[in-house]
């Protein structure tokens, strides 16, 4: 198996609606290197044909593809690639099977939704850093909100056999990209009792607490509220646990605050608009504390910018100034 990052073509195995607006895209990618939770890929949200003009034009004349005289007209839908966290990955010899969960928010994701089995997707990756696993006996607390759930699923698959609990939230049940097992007990509207009724986590033996803002499933309120209740009830502090989080910025900030107040280490996977995804364009900057030699200090300031794509996407909660 190839160990180097690179440009690959994935073949779609499945593209399954998980709930309103969220889809799971499973792709087989020959030669894709090993990956870890936290990493992401840059997907070309338009036909890979657009990139391969060299070969195609040289084939002319061909009954299949015309010589496009005026290549200016090859106007794709989404010019730049779009970053997506890995939601899982397995390998079988030379071929990796990778998963992303995408939420339809614009033209790029709208193109992804229309993918069918057998279609091809251009992939750059794997990119970014990874979550650090918990040390012996630490409880891993996975906190995912909305489109931040996918990296938590990948992390869960890596933590099988460890002490893990997941907290997931969505605005409403329709937007919850998780599978509730049919035989499961329905969690109470004010209960934070962890249940094994979320298939994606239960498959790894991991209990989960679900919250929805409107109470349409599980705990009524924000995921940060159920998390806070849990941390308080079980007096979780300091190195006892490590919190992993990904989701909307306001949620991650609150999670980082809850962790900091209790001296619990916290690893945050951030999102930023990205052009390159590999440290060349400087578009994905995020403010962090404690400038060190590898970061640019602002004169007279105690913060600097780091790049979400290469220094991250995973950062320590306490260093982030957002």
């Amino acid at each position: 198996m190839n160990q180097r990052r690179g440009q690959f073509t994935g073949v779609v195995c499945a593209n399954i609606p998980l709930c309103r607006e969220h889809f799971k895209l499973v792709m087989e990618v020959r030669g894709f290197p090993p990956t870890k939770a936290g990493q992401f890929v840059q997907l070309l949200c338009r036909s890979t044909r657009d990139l391969d003009y060299v070969e195609r034009e040289l084939e002319w004349p061909s009954p299949q593809r015309p010589e496009v005289e005026n290549v200016d007209l090859i106007a794709p839908t989404a010019l730049l690639r779009r970053p997506f966290s890995l939601a899982g990955a397995t390998t079988d010899g030379e071929t990796a099977t990778i998963e992303v969960i995408h939420r339809v928010v614009g033209v790029g994701t709208d193109w992804l939704v229309q993918l069918r089995t057998g279609d091809e997707v251009g992939i750059l990756g794997p990119l970014g850093n990874t979550f650090s696993h918990p040390v012996e006996n630490q409880i891993a607390i996975l906190v995912g909100g909305g489109v931040g759930i996918p990296p938590m699923l990948y992390l869960a698959s890596e933590l099988v056999g460890k002490k893990v609990i997941a907290f997931c939230g969505a605005t409403t049940r329709d937007l919850l990209s998780l599978t509730v097992t049919a035989d499961a007990r329905t969690p109470g509207i004010d209960s934070i009792e962890p249940l094994y009724n979320i298939q994606e986590f239960a498959a790894h033996g991991i209990p989960a607490v679900i919250s929805t803002d409107d109470g349409s499933y599980g705990f009524r309120g924000f995921v940060t509220q159920s998390l806070q209740e849990y941390l308080d009830r079980f007096r979780i502090r300091g190195e006892m646990a490590v919190i992993y989080t990904c989701g909307p910025e306001v949620m991650m900030k609150r999670v980082a605050d809850l962790a900091r107040a209790r001296q619990i280490p916290c690893q945050v996977a951030v999102e930023r608009a990205m052009a390159c995804g590999m440290g060349t364009c400087q578009s994905c900057c995020i403010r962090v504390k404690k400038p060190d030699a590898s970061a640019v200090p602002l004169p007279g300031q105690d913060w600097c910018y780091r790049l979400a794509c290469t220094d991250g996407p995973v950062f320590a909660g306490e260093e982030l100034l957002w």
Binding site: G6, Q7, Y53, D72, A275, Q282
Partner: protein, 310 residues
């Protein structure tokens, strides 16, 4: 065998594909994604005398067939460039051009002077046109100041050819091109980005924290082609100054268009984000095109678009 080699004043390139400053990092960032040894030349991110954190985010936004950026020249500064990046650049398997930006004559002179003795640096490109930093604009749009700046900088770079990167935000780019050549530019590179803006109509605020940014990508290509053609025919051809053309190059067809317009080499920027292997593919495609055109050397095709009057 088709000869794709290019001579940019003293700098020899095996082929005409270069990277655009600011879109390819400092050295090996794309190492896993393209064959750097097949690159005509690598152009670094702009280096300034002092470190710069750059603008607050959002720094980019996509537009129709293009993108805006307002990075604000975020870079490690001269000292760390010399300490950390030059050792990397020494290992690069292709010629290196260091792009230098600044806010004053002194800024430029000091930074450029530091490049003169570095063996692995093949050439320096002056960024006098970055529209994101207030003072940067004046050098690039004022012919008098531009000529003076180039003249000062040229003095401290006796060992290497000097490239001057022109701004497209002017009445007539031939005028600034002439000023740069009179100042002593050995090579002209054009175009930098167009000042532009995008507004979020729901939140009623600019999409970029810096309000304006520079437009790059396929959208600007027809304007860039015109500017290269104009500079070539009005100024550069007669002066014997080669041009590096850029602005929206994605495919070999785009590169061929720049070459016919008068560019000796082409630089690829925004397209790298989409396909980091684009320069390699462009190089391959250009080779086939040159032979289809019945030429033996790519350089024979430079500026050969047939104009009605010719």
């Amino acid at each position: 065998m088709i000869d794709l080699s290019v001579h940019l004043a003293g700098l020899k390139l095996a082929n005409p594909t270069m990277t655009c400053s600011g879109t390819c990092g400092y050295a090996f960032e794309y190492g896993d994604f393209m064959d750097l040894s097949q690159l005509g030349a690598f152009v670094t991110k702009s280096v300034t005398r002092e470190e710069r954190p750059g603008n607050p985010p959002a720094r980019i936004v996509e537009t129709r067939g293009g993108m805006l950026n307002a990075i604000g020249l975020a870079n490690v500064g001269l000292k760390r460039f010399l300490d950390e990046k030059v050792p990397q650049l020494e290992k690069m398997p292709c010629p290196i051009v260091v792009n230098v930006a600044g806010h004053s004559y002194d800024d430029y002179v000091e930074t450029v002077a530091a490049m003169n003795p570095i063996a692995c640096v093949g050439s320096v490109e002056l960024n006098v046109s970055c529209p994101n930093v207030k003072d940067g604009l004046t050098f690039g749009t004022n012919p008098g100041r531009l000529k003076e700046l180039v003249h000062e900088v040229k003095k401290v770079l006796p060992a290497k050819p000097l490239m001057v990167k022109l701004s497209p935000n002017v009445d007539d780019v031939a005028v600034t091109a002439r000023a740069a050549i009179e100042g002593g530019a050995d090579v002209l590179t054009l175009v930098n980005t167009f000042t532009a803006m995008s507004i979020d109509i729901h939140r009623r605020r600019p999409r970029l924290a810096n309000v304006t940014g520079g437009l790059s990508g396929p959208a600007i290509k027809p304007i860039a082609i015109h500017m290269v053609s104009r500079v070539y025919r009005q100024v550069a051809k007669a002066a014997g100054v080669p041009i590096v053309g850029m602005g929206g190059v994605q495919t070999w067809q785009d590169a061929a268009e720049f070459i016919l317009a008068g560019a000796s080499a082409v630089a690829i920027g925004t397209a790298l984000f989409v396909d980091p292997a684009a320069p390699n593919k462009i190089c391959e495609g250009l080779g086939e095109w040159v032979s289809k055109q019945g030429a033996e050397k790519l350089s024979d095709l430079v500026g050969t678009v047939q104009m009605p009057g010719d």
